[in-house]
Protein backbone atom coordinates (compact mmCIF):
# COMPACT_ATOMS: atom_id res chain seq x y z
CA UNK A 1 0.00 0.00 0.00
CA UNK A 2 1.30 3.46 -0.75
CA UNK A 3 -0.94 5.16 1.84
CA UNK A 4 -0.11 4.62 5.49
CA UNK A 5 -2.31 6.13 8.17
CA UNK A 6 -0.75 6.35 11.62
CA UNK A 7 -3.33 6.46 14.38
CA UNK A 8 -3.58 6.54 18.16
CA UNK A 9 -5.75 4.24 20.28
CA UNK A 10 -9.02 4.11 18.34
CA UNK A 11 -11.32 4.32 21.39
CA UNK A 12 -9.68 7.56 22.59
CA UNK A 13 -8.17 9.32 19.57
CA UNK A 14 -10.92 11.41 18.04
CA UNK A 15 -8.70 12.92 15.37
CA UNK A 16 -7.52 9.46 14.28
CA UNK A 17 -11.17 8.44 14.02
CA UNK A 18 -11.95 11.28 11.60
CA UNK A 19 -9.27 10.23 9.11
CA UNK A 20 -9.82 6.48 9.63
CA UNK A 21 -13.57 6.73 9.08
CA UNK A 22 -13.12 8.83 5.95
CA UNK A 23 -10.77 6.29 4.35
CA UNK A 24 -13.11 3.41 5.30
CA UNK A 25 -16.24 5.17 4.04
CA UNK A 26 -14.76 5.63 0.57
CA UNK A 27 -13.04 2.24 0.45
CA UNK A 28 -9.59 3.82 0.09
CA UNK A 29 -6.95 1.11 0.49
CA UNK A 30 -4.37 1.92 3.14
CA UNK A 31 -2.23 0.38 5.86
CA UNK A 32 -3.16 1.47 9.35
CA UNK A 33 -0.40 1.64 11.93
CA UNK A 34 -1.22 2.06 15.61
CA UNK A 35 1.13 4.15 17.70
CA UNK A 36 0.03 3.20 21.18
CA UNK A 37 -0.52 6.21 23.41
CA UNK A 38 1.41 5.76 26.67
CA UNK A 39 1.40 9.45 27.52
CA UNK A 40 1.89 12.86 25.95
CA UNK A 41 5.12 13.87 27.70
CA UNK A 42 8.06 14.77 25.50
CA UNK A 43 9.88 11.59 26.56
CA UNK A 44 6.88 9.24 26.19
CA UNK A 45 7.26 6.35 23.77
CA UNK A 46 4.30 7.81 21.84
CA UNK A 47 5.92 11.22 21.26
CA UNK A 48 9.31 9.68 20.57
CA UNK A 49 7.84 7.37 17.94
CA UNK A 50 5.77 10.10 16.26
CA UNK A 51 8.76 12.42 16.10
CA UNK A 52 11.06 9.66 14.85
CA UNK A 53 8.80 9.09 11.86
CA UNK A 54 8.86 12.80 11.16
CA UNK A 55 5.42 14.11 12.07
CA UNK A 56 4.70 17.12 14.27
CA UNK A 57 4.02 15.33 17.53
CA UNK A 58 0.38 14.33 17.02
CA UNK A 59 -1.70 11.62 15.40
CA UNK A 60 -3.09 11.00 12.93
CA UNK A 61 -0.71 11.56 10.08
CA UNK A 62 -0.72 10.14 6.59
CA UNK A 63 2.32 9.05 4.59
CA UNK A 64 2.09 8.62 0.83
CA UNK A 65 5.14 6.58 -0.19
CA UNK A 66 4.37 7.16 -3.88
CA UNK A 67 5.10 10.90 -3.54
CA UNK A 68 8.53 12.24 -2.64
CA UNK A 69 9.03 15.74 -1.37
CA UNK A 70 12.09 17.90 -2.06
CA UNK A 71 14.16 16.02 0.53
CA UNK A 72 13.60 12.65 -1.17
CA UNK A 73 11.41 11.55 1.69
CA UNK A 74 7.88 10.27 1.44
CA UNK A 75 5.22 12.93 1.76
CA UNK A 76 3.91 13.27 5.33
CA UNK A 77 0.62 15.05 5.93
CA UNK A 78 0.32 16.01 9.55
CA UNK A 79 -3.19 17.29 10.15
CA UNK A 80 -6.65 15.80 9.66
CA UNK A 81 -7.93 18.74 7.65
CA UNK A 82 -5.02 18.62 5.23
CA UNK A 83 -5.38 14.81 5.08
CA UNK A 84 -9.02 15.30 4.02
CA UNK A 85 -8.02 17.79 1.32
CA UNK A 86 -5.24 15.50 0.09
CA UNK A 87 -7.57 12.51 -0.14
CA UNK A 88 -10.20 14.64 -1.89
CA UNK A 89 -7.61 15.74 -4.47
CA UNK A 90 -6.03 12.31 -4.94
CA UNK A 91 -9.38 10.52 -5.27
CA UNK A 92 -11.22 13.22 -7.16
CA UNK A 93 -13.86 10.78 -8.46
CA UNK A 94 -15.13 10.23 -4.90
CA UNK A 95 -17.53 12.79 -3.43
CA UNK A 96 -15.36 13.35 -0.37
CA UNK A 97 -16.59 16.94 -0.42
CA UNK A 98 -20.06 17.67 -1.85
CA UNK A 99 -20.06 18.33 -5.60
CA UNK A 100 -22.13 21.51 -5.25
CA UNK A 101 -19.86 24.51 -4.59
CA UNK A 102 -22.06 26.17 -1.98
CA UNK A 103 -22.58 22.89 -0.12
CA UNK A 104 -18.86 22.24 -0.34
CA UNK A 105 -18.11 25.65 1.17
CA UNK A 106 -20.59 25.02 3.98
CA UNK A 107 -19.14 21.59 4.69
CA UNK A 108 -15.63 23.01 4.84
CA UNK A 109 -16.91 25.82 7.06
CA UNK A 110 -18.20 23.38 9.67
CA UNK A 111 -15.14 21.14 9.46
CA UNK A 112 -12.94 24.18 10.09
CA UNK A 113 -15.19 25.26 12.98
CA UNK A 114 -14.83 21.76 14.43
CA UNK A 115 -11.07 21.87 13.86
CA UNK A 116 -10.50 24.85 16.15
CA UNK A 117 -13.72 25.01 18.13
CA UNK A 118 -16.17 23.31 20.50
CA UNK A 119 -13.42 23.36 23.11
CA UNK A 120 -15.73 22.89 26.10
CA UNK A 121 -17.30 19.70 24.76
CA UNK A 122 -13.92 18.32 23.74
CA UNK A 123 -12.26 19.18 27.03
CA UNK A 124 -14.99 17.94 29.36
CA UNK A 125 -16.21 14.95 27.37
CA UNK A 126 -13.04 13.24 26.17
CA UNK A 127 -13.90 10.75 23.48
CA UNK A 128 -14.20 7.29 24.96
CA UNK A 129 -15.91 4.72 22.74
CA UNK A 130 -17.67 1.92 24.56
CA UNK A 131 -18.30 2.65 28.23
CA UNK A 132 -21.50 4.07 29.70
CA UNK A 133 -20.52 7.56 30.87
CA UNK A 134 -24.07 8.80 31.34
CA UNK A 135 -23.68 9.72 35.02
CA UNK A 136 -20.61 11.83 34.30
CA UNK A 137 -22.40 13.27 31.26
CA UNK A 138 -25.40 14.36 33.34
CA UNK A 139 -23.16 16.24 35.79
CA UNK A 140 -21.09 17.84 33.04
CA UNK A 141 -24.26 18.96 31.27
CA UNK A 142 -25.71 20.38 34.50
CA UNK A 143 -22.59 22.26 35.57
CA UNK A 144 -20.98 23.55 32.38
CA UNK A 145 -22.89 26.15 30.40
CA UNK A 146 -20.14 26.17 27.78
CA UNK A 147 -20.76 22.47 27.07
CA UNK A 148 -24.47 23.17 26.66
CA UNK A 149 -23.63 26.05 24.29
CA UNK A 150 -21.36 23.80 22.22
CA UNK A 151 -24.12 21.18 22.09
CA UNK A 152 -26.70 23.73 20.98
CA UNK A 153 -24.43 25.15 18.27
CA UNK A 154 -23.66 21.67 16.93
CA UNK A 155 -27.33 20.71 16.82
CA UNK A 156 -28.23 23.97 15.03
CA UNK A 157 -25.48 23.38 12.49
CA UNK A 158 -26.63 19.79 11.90
CA UNK A 159 -30.27 20.84 11.53
CA UNK A 160 -29.31 23.58 9.04
CA UNK A 161 -27.25 21.18 6.94
CA UNK A 162 -29.87 18.41 6.97
CA UNK A 163 -32.58 20.92 5.96
CA UNK A 164 -30.44 22.33 3.13
CA UNK A 165 -29.17 19.02 1.80
CA UNK A 166 -32.29 16.96 2.41
CA UNK A 167 -30.10 14.33 4.12
CA UNK A 168 -29.72 11.51 4.86
CA UNK A 169 -26.23 12.67 5.88
CA UNK A 170 -25.25 16.25 6.71
CA UNK A 171 -24.36 17.31 3.17
CA UNK A 172 -26.51 14.71 1.37
CA UNK A 173 -24.36 11.63 0.84
CA UNK A 174 -21.80 10.57 3.45
CA UNK A 175 -18.92 13.07 3.17
CA UNK A 176 -15.89 14.38 5.02
CA UNK A 177 -18.28 16.47 7.10
CA UNK A 178 -19.86 13.36 8.64
CA UNK A 179 -16.43 11.86 9.30
CA UNK A 180 -15.46 15.10 10.99
CA UNK A 181 -18.44 15.08 13.33
CA UNK A 182 -18.33 11.32 14.02
CA UNK A 183 -16.34 11.80 17.27
CA UNK A 184 -18.98 14.33 18.38
CA UNK A 185 -21.62 11.65 17.79
CA UNK A 186 -19.53 9.31 19.96
CA UNK A 187 -19.36 11.89 22.77
CA UNK A 188 -23.09 12.65 22.67
CA UNK A 189 -23.88 8.94 22.72
CA UNK A 190 -21.52 7.58 25.38
CA UNK A 191 -22.03 10.54 27.76
CA UNK A 192 -25.80 10.36 27.00
CA UNK A 193 -26.05 14.13 26.48
CA UNK A 194 -29.56 15.34 25.66
CA UNK A 195 -30.26 15.85 21.95
CA UNK A 196 -33.27 16.60 19.76
CA UNK A 197 -35.13 13.80 18.02
CA UNK A 198 -33.71 14.96 14.70
CA UNK A 199 -30.15 14.77 16.02
CA UNK A 200 -30.85 11.34 17.50
CA UNK A 201 -32.06 10.09 14.12
CA UNK A 202 -28.88 11.38 12.49
CA UNK A 203 -26.73 9.80 15.24
CA UNK A 204 -28.47 6.43 14.79
CA UNK A 205 -27.77 6.63 11.07
CA UNK A 206 -24.10 7.38 11.73
CA UNK A 207 -23.82 4.39 14.07
CA UNK A 208 -25.24 2.13 11.33
CA UNK A 209 -22.81 3.33 8.64
CA UNK A 210 -20.38 0.49 7.80
CA UNK A 211 -17.31 2.73 8.18
CA UNK A 212 -18.42 3.76 11.67
CA UNK A 213 -19.39 0.21 12.62
CA UNK A 214 -15.95 -0.95 11.60
CA UNK A 215 -14.14 1.77 13.57
CA UNK A 216 -16.34 1.39 16.66
CA UNK A 217 -16.01 -2.41 16.57
CA UNK A 218 -12.22 -2.17 16.41
CA UNK A 219 -12.16 0.52 19.10
CA UNK A 220 -14.18 -1.60 21.51
CA UNK A 221 -12.28 -4.85 20.96
CA UNK A 222 -8.86 -3.20 21.18
CA UNK A 223 -9.75 -0.86 24.05
CA UNK A 224 -7.03 -0.57 26.64
CA UNK A 225 -7.65 1.35 29.87
CA UNK A 226 -5.38 4.43 30.01
CA UNK A 227 -5.76 6.25 33.31
CA UNK A 228 -4.94 9.69 31.88
CA UNK A 229 -7.83 9.35 29.41
CA UNK A 230 -10.29 8.24 32.10
CA UNK A 231 -11.34 11.02 34.49
CA UNK A 232 -14.64 9.24 35.19
CA UNK A 233 -13.70 5.57 35.67
CA UNK A 234 -11.23 3.62 37.77
CA UNK A 235 -10.94 0.74 35.32
CA UNK A 236 -13.10 -0.94 32.71
CA UNK A 237 -14.59 -3.32 35.27
CA UNK A 238 -15.13 -0.91 38.14
CA UNK A 239 -18.24 1.20 38.61
CA UNK A 240 -17.95 4.87 37.86
CA UNK A 241 -16.53 6.77 40.85
CA UNK A 242 -18.62 9.90 40.10
Amino acid sequence: MTLKLYIGNPNYSSWSMRAGVLLRAFGIAHDEILIRIDGFDANSTFKTEVNRIGATGTVPFLIDTSVQDGHDQSLIITDTLSIVEYIAETFADHAIWPKDRAMRAKARNLCAEMHSGFGALRQHCLMNIGPDLSRAGALIWRDHAAVRRDGARIETAWADMLALSGGPYLAGGFSALDAYFAPVVMRLKYYSLPVTGESQTYMNRIFKHPAIEDWVGGAVTSAEFLDFEEPFRLSTDDPEPV
Binding site: T56, V67, Q68, D69, G70, L75, I76, I77, T78, D79, T80, L81, S82, E85, Y86, E89, T90, R101, A102, M103, R104, A105, K106, R108, N109, C111, A112, E113, H115, S116, G117, R153, T156, A157, D160, A163, L164, S165
Partner: protein, 140 residues
Protein backbone atom coordinates in the same frame (compact mmCIF):
# COMPACT_ATOMS: atom_id res chain seq x y z
CA UNK B 1 -19.70 43.44 -6.04
CA UNK B 2 -20.31 39.82 -5.24
CA UNK B 3 -17.77 39.18 -2.46
CA UNK B 4 -17.88 41.03 0.84
CA UNK B 5 -15.30 40.39 3.55
CA UNK B 6 -16.27 41.43 7.06
CA UNK B 7 -13.27 42.13 9.26
CA UNK B 8 -12.46 43.28 12.79
CA UNK B 9 -9.98 45.98 13.82
CA UNK B 10 -7.03 45.67 11.44
CA UNK B 11 -4.33 46.13 14.07
CA UNK B 12 -5.76 43.46 16.40
CA UNK B 13 -7.64 40.88 14.31
CA UNK B 14 -5.05 38.36 13.13
CA UNK B 15 -7.61 36.13 11.41
CA UNK B 16 -9.01 39.10 9.49
CA UNK B 17 -5.46 39.90 8.41
CA UNK B 18 -4.90 36.42 7.00
CA UNK B 19 -7.84 36.68 4.63
CA UNK B 20 -7.43 40.37 3.88
CA UNK B 21 -3.79 39.85 2.91
CA UNK B 22 -4.64 36.85 0.72
CA UNK B 23 -7.29 38.81 -1.19
CA UNK B 24 -4.92 41.73 -1.66
CA UNK B 25 -2.00 39.50 -2.74
CA UNK B 26 -4.07 37.93 -5.52
CA UNK B 27 -5.92 41.17 -6.33
CA UNK B 28 -9.31 39.58 -5.82
CA UNK B 29 -12.04 42.15 -6.11
CA UNK B 30 -13.81 42.34 -2.77
CA UNK B 31 -15.75 44.86 -0.76
CA UNK B 32 -14.36 45.04 2.78
CA UNK B 33 -16.64 45.92 5.68
CA UNK B 34 -15.42 46.73 9.15
CA UNK B 35 -17.19 45.57 12.31
CA UNK B 36 -15.60 47.48 15.16
CA UNK B 37 -14.63 45.51 18.27
CA UNK B 38 -16.26 46.96 21.37
CA UNK B 39 -16.06 43.74 23.37
CA UNK B 40 -16.52 39.99 22.92
CA UNK B 41 -19.30 39.72 25.52
CA UNK B 42 -22.50 38.09 24.20
CA UNK B 43 -24.46 41.38 24.21
CA UNK B 44 -21.74 43.55 22.68
CA UNK B 45 -22.42 45.58 19.54
CA UNK B 46 -19.71 43.54 17.81
CA UNK B 47 -21.33 40.18 18.61
CA UNK B 48 -24.80 41.44 17.66
CA UNK B 49 -23.60 42.76 14.30
CA UNK B 50 -21.78 39.52 13.51
CA UNK B 51 -24.82 37.45 14.50
CA UNK B 52 -26.87 39.18 11.79
CA UNK B 53 -24.78 37.25 9.24
CA UNK B 54 -22.82 34.44 10.87
CA UNK B 55 -23.83 31.86 13.49
CA UNK B 56 -20.22 31.34 14.56
CA UNK B 57 -19.91 34.80 16.11
CA UNK B 58 -16.42 35.65 14.88
CA UNK B 59 -14.61 37.63 12.18
CA UNK B 60 -13.61 37.38 9.46
CA UNK B 61 -16.44 36.04 7.37
CA UNK B 62 -16.97 36.19 3.63
CA UNK B 63 -20.36 36.69 2.01
CA UNK B 64 -20.85 35.70 -1.63
CA UNK B 65 -24.21 37.09 -2.69
CA UNK B 66 -24.02 35.49 -6.14
CA UNK B 67 -24.39 32.07 -4.52
CA UNK B 68 -27.52 31.29 -2.60
CA UNK B 69 -28.24 28.14 -0.70
CA UNK B 70 -31.44 26.12 -0.99
CA UNK B 71 -33.21 28.49 1.41
CA UNK B 72 -32.34 31.52 -0.75
CA UNK B 73 -29.81 33.02 1.66
CA UNK B 74 -26.44 34.25 0.39
CA UNK B 75 -23.49 31.98 1.12
CA UNK B 76 -21.62 32.94 4.31
CA UNK B 77 -18.23 31.38 5.05
CA UNK B 78 -17.05 32.07 8.59
CA UNK B 79 -13.72 30.40 8.97
CA UNK B 80 -10.41 31.48 7.46
CA UNK B 81 -9.40 28.02 6.22
CA UNK B 82 -12.80 27.47 4.61
CA UNK B 83 -12.57 30.96 3.05
CA UNK B 84 -9.17 30.10 1.57
CA UNK B 85 -10.46 26.81 0.14
CA UNK B 86 -13.50 28.60 -1.27
CA UNK B 87 -11.34 31.21 -3.00
CA UNK B 88 -9.01 28.49 -4.34
CA UNK B 89 -12.10 26.63 -5.62
CA UNK B 90 -13.58 29.70 -7.24
CA UNK B 91 -10.45 31.30 -8.67
CA UNK B 92 -8.75 28.20 -10.02
CA UNK B 93 -6.48 30.24 -12.30
CA UNK B 94 -4.80 31.85 -9.28
CA UNK B 95 -2.03 29.87 -7.50
CA UNK B 96 -3.56 30.37 -4.06
CA UNK B 97 -2.12 26.98 -3.08
CA UNK B 98 1.18 25.76 -4.62
CA UNK B 99 0.76 23.93 -7.91
CA UNK B 100 2.88 20.95 -6.87
CA UNK B 101 0.72 18.37 -5.07
CA UNK B 102 3.29 17.53 -2.40
CA UNK B 103 4.05 21.19 -1.66
CA UNK B 104 0.32 21.90 -1.59
CA UNK B 105 -0.21 19.14 0.97
CA UNK B 106 2.60 20.52 3.11
CA UNK B 107 1.26 24.07 2.86
CA UNK B 108 -2.17 22.88 3.93
CA UNK B 109 -0.67 20.90 6.82
CA UNK B 110 1.05 24.01 8.16
CA UNK B 111 -2.04 26.19 7.70
CA UNK B 112 -4.04 23.58 9.61
CA UNK B 113 -1.40 23.46 12.35
CA UNK B 114 -1.61 27.26 12.60
CA UNK B 115 -5.41 27.04 12.64
CA UNK B 116 -5.63 25.15 15.94
CA UNK B 117 -2.09 25.41 17.30
CA UNK B 118 0.67 27.71 18.51
CA UNK B 119 -1.65 28.76 21.29
CA UNK B 120 1.05 29.93 23.70
CA UNK B 121 2.33 32.48 21.19
CA UNK B 122 -1.22 33.49 20.30
CA UNK B 123 -2.39 33.85 23.91
CA UNK B 124 0.65 35.67 25.21
CA UNK B 125 1.52 37.82 22.19
CA UNK B 126 -1.85 39.08 21.03
CA UNK B 127 -1.39 40.64 17.60
CA UNK B 128 -0.96 44.39 17.88
CA UNK B 129 0.36 46.07 14.74
CA UNK B 130 2.26 49.30 15.15
CA UNK B 131 3.29 49.55 18.79
CA UNK B 132 6.65 48.77 20.37
CA UNK B 133 6.05 45.81 22.73
CA UNK B 134 9.72 44.84 23.01
CA UNK B 135 9.84 45.11 26.83
CA UNK B 136 6.79 42.88 27.27
CA UNK B 137 8.15 40.56 24.58
CA UNK B 138 11.38 39.96 26.51
CA UNK B 139 9.52 39.21 29.74
CA UNK B 140 7.18 36.80 27.93
Amino acid sequence: MSLTLFIGNKNYSSSSMRVGVLLRAFEIDVYERFIRFDSFAPGSTFKRQVAEFSPAGSVPFLVDDTVTDASGKPLVIWDTLAIIEYLADRFTDLPIWPEDAALRARARSLCAEMHCGFSALRNHCIMNIGVDLSRQGRIL
